[in-house]
Symmetry: C2
Subunit: 461 residues, 2 copies
């Protein structure tokens, strides 16, 4: 079987069904034709597309083509695949929908025919019913990705749904999350999550893998491959279709047979994969893994400007099997230095409105305390107070002492969009993850520790 590399680093691309009309496919056509990639538009009637000479058929292109992107109506897809294979491509992305997911026998048969063509020819096919891929590092995309609003990074996504190919990227930009490769799989007639795991395992720009799945067909192979990935990099997963209603909905979406959820839970556990409840949780976990060192133990120090959030965090610490650090005498003395009398220096350290005076002392002392394995920093302040007095956000300090000690720092906040944006401005550059959920803030530390322990176990085998 061919490598997936053709999808991420194609030399010559044909867009079959290249479109100038507003609607699906237009952005991809427009972007790629004006990019540095060598791209030929194919259209059954048009002479030109966005000023570029168009070809009636991929076979008429006077060069070797290694990747075909197909966005024609359903009825024309089979022919386009046949032509592409004849042309000698190595990879095909079928974005068109209307196959097995419709539940109709005739459409399912066409999908089956295409699958057989892939098998016979060795040409790799992604889709149908998907957005294909984006490679954020070289800026190649079949998924209408707007790279001016996507950060480069080390998180890769493999998803059986288009929403992770665009909407999540729109959102992630403001979350300080950076990506390497994004793959949407759709109905998975050929390329599936296992192929992608294998590829991303060996991909140097990928440090964390996020999966969204509606089904896994070959669980044995999935388990086998996943167990070769996890020792190298963490895999996070959202698996939907957990209930009968959800399973039925998955069938209409990507023709998936969702299957028994408890079996999936067991499978993920066996494979060392970390399961998340929803996309927010998965990407909160990914932030931690992507940006921070793994904790070496379960002792958490909390510094907070809100007593109630400190309590809710403490509840979650216990729920997640972590513990609150016992702070050393030295740490207490260092934090007391600029502290008003009323401040409680127990852990959680509740500095309330004294954050301007105390935050630097606290961050440094807590990260240097040998009884601390991870720091949770709850940063809240009323917007008008921040606007008047400024915002104490010693990101560089936290970065410095966190890195020195090899301890993760996670920031939690609550507040207006203005506050959140300001936090990102000040902390993103130091790779300090920000989450708005206090539960997720604690869970990030718990999952990173879980992964750290799992990896040690793998090392021993």
């Amino acid at each position: 079987m061919g490598s997936l590399d053709v999808f991420f680093n194609p030399k010559v691309v044909a867009i079959i069904g290249a479109s100038e009309t507003p609607g699906f496919g237009m952005f991809t056509t427009q972007y790629l034709l004006n990019s540095e990639f060598k791209v030929f538009p194919v259209h059954i009637r048009r002479e030109e597309v966005f000023g570029h000479k168009a070809y009636r058929n991929i076979r008429e292109i006077p060069e070797t083509v290694d990747l075909a992107i197909i966005i024609v109506p359903t009825s024309q897809v089979l022919k386009a695949v046949e032509d592409s294979i004849e042309k000698g491509v190595k990879g095909i992305i079928i974005e068109s929908a209307g196959f097995a997911e419709t539940g109709r026998e005739d459409f399912r048969n066409i999908q089956q025919q295409i699958a057989e063509l892939a098998k016979e020819s060795g040409v790799r096919i992604i889709g149908p019913n998907c957005l294909g891929i984006s490679n954020v590092h070289n800026k190649f995309t079949s998924a209408e990705t707007d790279f001016t609003n996507v950060r480069k990074g080390n998180i890769s996504i493999v998803a059986q749904s288009g929403v992770l190919g665009n909407i999540i990227l729109d959102w992630a930009f403001y979350e300080g999350i950076g990506f390497s490769k994004v793959i949407t799989l759709g109905n998975k007639l050929d390329v599936d999550e296992v192929d992608c795991l294998e590829y991303l395992r060996d991909d140097e720009t990928t440090r964390v893998i996020c999966l969204y799945l509606e089904e896994i067909r070959d669980r044995t192979r999935f388990l086998e491959v996943a167990r070769t990935v996890v020792p190298k990099k963490p895999i996070l997963v959202v698996k939907s279709g957990r209930t009968a209603f959800g399973a039925r909905a998955a069938r209409s979406h990507t023709a998936s047979i969702a299957g028994n959820d408890q079996l999936y839970d067991a499978l993920f556990k066996q494979a060392g994969i970390i399961r998340a409840e929803d996309f927010y949780e998965m990407f909160d976990f990914a932030k931690g893994f992507s940006m921070q060192p793994l904790p070496k133990g379960n002792r958490v120090a909390i510094i907070t400007a809100s007593g109630s959030l400190g309590i809710l965090a403490s509840d979650e610490v216990e729920k997640q099997g972590l513990t609150l650090s016992h702070l050393s005498e030295q740490t207490l003395i260092a934090m007391r230095k600029n502290a008003p009398d009323w401040v409680s220096l127990k852990n959680p350290v509740d500095i309330g409105p004294a954050q301007l005076e105390m935050i630097n002392d606290c961050i440094k002392a807590l990260l240097q305390d040998e009884g601390v394995d991870a720091l949770l920093w709850i940063q809240i302040i009323p917007e008008r107070v921040a606007k008047m007095l400024g915002l104490p956000l010693p990101g560089r300090l936290a970065y410095k002492y966190g890195t020195q000690a090899g301890k993760p720092v996670i920031v939690n906040t609550f507040g207006s969009p203005w506050m959140k944006e300001l936090l990102h401005q000040k902390l993103d550059k130091y790779g300090i993850p920000i989450t708005i959920s206090i539960q997720n803030a604690v869970k990030i530390i718990a999952r990173m520790l879980q992964y750290q322990r799992m990896r040690l176990k793998f090392d021993k085998i």
Copy 2:
């Protein structure tokens, strides 16, 4: 015991410890002195505060004063309370911290002495260690509330933590949430959550009550009073200190003894109170209760532009004991009218990129379907597509048919801050709640139904 009304509608107010210096108390002083309320600054040294004549002692004010706000250092609080009582006030708010929550015997004793003064005199006292109150309708506040960034509405908050008096309000403005009264209780030496529940039960501008509690001292009285409130309006609660770590943190925050969490669960259940896991969940529930009619049954219709979010929503529908509506033939015909072939018209109705053509037909038909008790509308679209083609957001239509049929409509979204802001611009005016959590979107419907059924049961008694 005196009524709490003096806190929300005071005639003459004294600020003891009125402050011009940036820091705690300054905003309240500045705002109230420049407001239409009659307010006298009290300061031991100053002649003037913000250009207003200051008095050395509340007793020197040449008028009857009914409310004193105390923001002096801890050591001066007892004397200020004695003076205020002598002056004949009906209510006192003590914002100063440094009492029982320090864990120190001497400070706890002072708090106890003040509590006894309250009891003897009948003067009601809120605090210490709190921000006091805000009345969003008449714009009176002791909590530094910036009313230019708070919406009037029908949700009232009773909270044992300051964060709900300011940070949550900063945030809520952008969430389309409107408030009536906000009360932060701190250490609760006199006024507690039960007093507030009684007051808000009979408050005409309050439709939903949100509680944040670290402890309930008198559970019998709480249960008694809550059971008189719930038939009239829903009570939502976040109770922290659920674990040993959380309980210990609560002691340092408001001197609370958090107690056994299972007992609290049972208590809330008995009282008909709806418990939330965190602030986001509580205020998502509050949005539903505040803006929408209660569902009459458990049949949910889902319209979605994202297949995967439709599946995750379906999973949550089943988890919450709700069911997916079986759509009538008439509804299917109406939705088919402008639909492309590939659209799946099962429930969840997955309209994908066809939302521009179909959304109006779908919303109208689904809300008119007799098999539908509630509509979940999952609204997502890539930002650049929305910017190019416009965003189909028929809020007026959803409002019209939702109101006509007496069915709740809940919107869920995922995306960039730009998208979220646009949704609020278009939907807030129709009172359609927006949540970014797909789980919470479904839970809102479930909790509203739970309340509806509970209320019917109360009616029968």
